[in-house]
């Protein structure tokens, strides 16, 4: 099931997402969770291959809050991966 479908099926205010570890790192997700603390409550479980996230929207006034959170997590994950690649080269 795609993330969109899961989000649509979830009860109002609560979303469950599975994010693949190839794209989203645990550190990236945690960084995004810290950045959105107060707006979004995030519980992460699962392993390095698949991160299961339980999200609860705390501030419904902000549009597309989960999408903003996912963008932040992806940005943090990609930049960390690039830093790692540079470190491996040096």
């Amino acid at each position: 099931m795609s993330p969109d479908a899961r989000a649509a099926d979830a009860p109002t205010g609560a979303v469950t997402l599975d994010l693949h570890g190839d794209f989203y790192s645990a550190a990236g997700i945690d960084e995004a969770a810290a950045a959105y603390a107060g707006l979004l409550m995030v519980e992460r479980s699962g392993g390095p291959t698949l991160h299961r996230l339980a999200l609860r929207v705390e501030d419904a006034e902000v549009d597309d809050l989960v999408d903003h959170f996912l963008n932040h997590a992806l940005h943090a994950s990609v930049t960390a991966a690039r830093r790692g690649a540079l470190g491996a080269t040096a």
Binding site: F23, D64, L70
Partner: protein, 151 residues
């Protein structure tokens, strides 16, 4: 149709894409055998400022990349995004390929730059030249007060 439009359409044809039911999202199904993971990540990264981006792996060797506009899309905007994403994927794939093929020579050049010619030796050489100049006889015999004593 302009040449730019033709280029965009050609890129769209490279991969299958679908406009999702929310009317704001377009999803591309990417074959990882054609576009390596680093290229997909790099292309996704380029759209983070304009779109909400999601990456998913529905099956082995297959990646779903979903772009969702941050506001209601203009007519044709989703198709254009799909085209731009196709181009970005190709661009990033070439970058990855070039980076891999030139990796050894870049490492060699960096190693030469940092380790083959030690910077300390050139500094020592400059200091030695300065010392030699100071110690040389002054052909103009200009008096230096602190050496000759006060007049």
């Amino acid at each position: 149709m302009s040449s730019a439009d033709q280029n965009t359409d050609a890129a769209v044809d490279l991969e299958t894409f679908e406009v999702l039911s929310d009317g704001r999202s377009v999803r591309l199904q990417i074959d990882e055998r054609l576009y390596p993971l680093d290229a997909v990540r790099g292309a996704a990264y380029l759209f983070l400022d304009r779109c909400f981006v999601r990456l998913d792996r529905p099956a082995d060797q297959r990646i779903d990349l979903t772009l969702k506009t941050k506001a209601a899309p203009m007519p044709g905007q989703l198709e254009q995004l799909a085209g731009e994403l196709g181009n970005a994927l190709l661009d990033q794939a070439v970058r990855v390929q070039v980076a891999q093929s030139t990796g050894k020579i870049r490492e060699y050049i960096m190693a030469r730059a940092f380790f083959a010619a030690p910077a300390q030796s050139s500094i020592d050489q400059l200091l030695a030249e300065l010392d030699a100049e100071e110690l040389a006889d002054d052909p103009l015999d200009i008096q230096v007060p602190w050496e000759k004593g006060g007049a």
